[in-house]
Symmetry: C2
């Protein structure tokens, strides 16, 4: 997963990557940064012409009694992953408690079950992936249960009990106390903006760094990119916090090009993402019903179930497609899909439709590639759009 | 493959389906059709208020000496397929000659090889799927050869030699004579328009029936739909002949709705299709380089090779993506892709882009769903579009 080493940066592009150097302060007036050299334990100032802040995000932690136990993990980067794997390899936990029901929690369910570890998921909401539509989340819950995951809802976490070795041995909630061999906190991330805030960066309503479409911050010659900053959502026309790897990547390119004198812009996202949980593919783009309502859209939706390819083809699976649209003008606002086959790669056609502000009627008329190994003559997306369009026509 | 029987039509929707009834004449002045009842061997006239002509297409045949041999087949409908299977089951041919290098020919290569039949493909052009871009066709040829298909080019067919049993035993071309156990002619289809032509239907430049966007023909109260008629290509803005199942299906719905008093339109296609040949997925949409040039576009193109998902994920495969675009304004004109995984479902995002007349620069900025099991942070489509856009920017 290490795409390029510091050596490769140097050799390929003459870029100096200073590892083991922690930036501790940004001084925008003097255009310099304070850097702590961790290996030499010394601090010095570096001056800059242009600065790109890419401080990323960190895992949220619940600050409970016992939260510092050494078998309580978070998962954000490669090192976290290595730590978790090493702990599992060395301590052979029989059971793990996961706090949270989002994508990381769900992906880790699969990872733990593949190692035969009994997995309990503690979730505040009543369904996994609670920011998705109810029908999609229900399908995910079914898949979790089929794979032996215990999904526990409405637990208020209270404390972890530790043994003398500094390991959590139980997790206490308002309902009961659960013995644990290991804990994963997967309750989201928060942007690393403290240093930026102190230096006078403007933060957005989301708490992440505010930039314009060139990734420039409010401060002269300073850009920001990635999980530490906001991104513009083209559907809601609002700046949001969507810390995802592909967005970070694109923002970084734009910030880099502009810092080097270019004129690139990053126009924004529509909110596309996908993940896999056991055999299930989940994909979505745009706004969900609740979010769309919050933005004042006159929301309606349509959900259909259809085959992923022509029914007589081997490997065809049922999939759910839910379209969220504006009843007033038929504009597509979002789409969510779940199924065991042919889901994730299908969503992008609807991402394009969102970029282009298409109506469900226009979506229903799209000319998709049809061949029995890949789709029925009417693709599930077209079926859903046609059903949705009928609601408005009448 | 029989979606609905005549009985089901009757029970579900009170529709009379008259099988074994051949329409032999259309009389638009008297608004009636001449029908030959095959089972009773009698002919009568039926009058109509509205008529929908859906006479489809038939396989093209080479009219060579010996073409009528009983082991020479074409493949257009279910009955053709059954006949071929029965002949194979009964006669256990060791070898088959396929005339033609299009989709049907290629799909049948796989079918014959799965039954261990040595397969020779005779093709006028130097590459299979010769209407696709050269790089795509070359990849297909490699896949054919890997699977033991003999692909023979530039043969002028001369005759079939028959035995006393009425079976072709050899195929003679300008180059050589090849022994054959069985022959498949897969050299395209021609629309069944003879009866329509005789009745005064206007035909298009392609030779198929001309309709407007409501599927109405030039004759009062007569609609046409499916493989017997033309379809409007939204990229070239030209009426073309594209006999494909999903298009026929959509035209049929529009014709039906309008014949019943509705006001539906079929706005056209962008030319999306996909097929599978052995392990390879092939998908395309829009115009190819040559066709686009023929329409006067200032054509440029960009081809890239990329992983179908993140390289470290199991099952990731290399795929080719070629984008065809207008150098003048960057407008996307077409896209073709080939690879072993994740190709067919990917093409539809580009079909939407064609419907919306997007530029390659706009395509490069699309927000696609990223997750390692399905795609790299930069989807192959985005990589291709970015490379294409760079060509124009400089």
């Amino acid at each position: 997963m290490v795409v390029r080493t510091p050596q490769q940066f140097k050799e390929m592009q003459d870029i100096d990557v200073k590892t083991e150097h922690r930036v501790t302060k940004i001084d925008p007036k003097e255009k310099r940064i304070e850097v702590h050299n961790l290996s030499k334990s010394e601090t010095q100032w570096f001056s800059y012409d242009k600065l790109i802040v890419a401080t990323g995000a960190r895992s949220r932690c619940l600050n409970l009694p016992g939260s510092n136990a050494k078998n309580i993990f978070t998962l954000k980067d490669l090192q976290d992953g290595i730590r978790i794997r090493e702990y599992v390899d060395e301590n052979k936990p029989k059971q793990v408690a996961i706090l949270g029901g989002g994508f990381i929690a769900l992906e880790m369910c699969e990872a733990f079950r593949l190692r035969d570890i009994e997995t309990l998921v503690f979730c505040r909401r009543d369904l996994p992936a609670g920011n998705l539509e109810r029908e999609i989340s229900e399908r995910i819950l079914k898949e979790l249960q089929k794979n032996g995951i215990y999904f526990l809802t409405h637990h208020e976490p209270i404390a972890f009990k530790m043994n003398s070795n500094g390991e959590a041995i139980s997790f206490e909630t308002n309902k009961a106390e659960y013995p644990v061999d290991m804990v994963l906190m997967a309750i989201g991330v928060i942007p690393n903006v403290e240093m930026a805030k102190e230096a006078g960066f403007e933060l957005g309503r989301t708490g992440a760094i505010k930039t314009d479409f060139t990734q420039m911050t409010n401060l002269a010659d300073i850009y920001a990119a990635g999980d530490c900053c906001e991104v513009f959502n083209l559907v809601s026309q609002d700046w949001v916090y969507t810390p995802l790897g592909d967005i970070a990547n694109k923002q970084g390119r734009v910030a880099g090009e502009n810092a080097a004198g270019g004129k690139a812009t990053f126009s924004g996202v529509v909110g596309s993402a996908a993940f896999k949980v056991f055999e299930l593919e989940v994909a979505f783009t745009g706004l969900g019903t609740q979010t769309a309502r919050g933005y004042g859209f006159d929301v309606d939706s349509q959900i259909i179930e259809a085959e992923s390819k022509v029914g007589y083809m081997p490997g065809s699976k049922r999939m759910l497609v839910k379209l969220i649209f504006d009843r007033k003008n038929g504009r597509l606002l979002g789409a969510q899909m779940v199924g065991k086959e042919g889901v994730a790669r299908r969503i992008n056609a609807l991402a394009v439709a969102l970029h282009q502000r298409m109506t469900i009627d226009e979506v229903a008329r799209l000319d998709f590639a049809y061949a029995p190994p890949f789709s029925a003559p009417f693709d599930p997306i077209l079926i859903a759009a046609e059903q949705a369009a009928k609601k408005i026509r009448k």
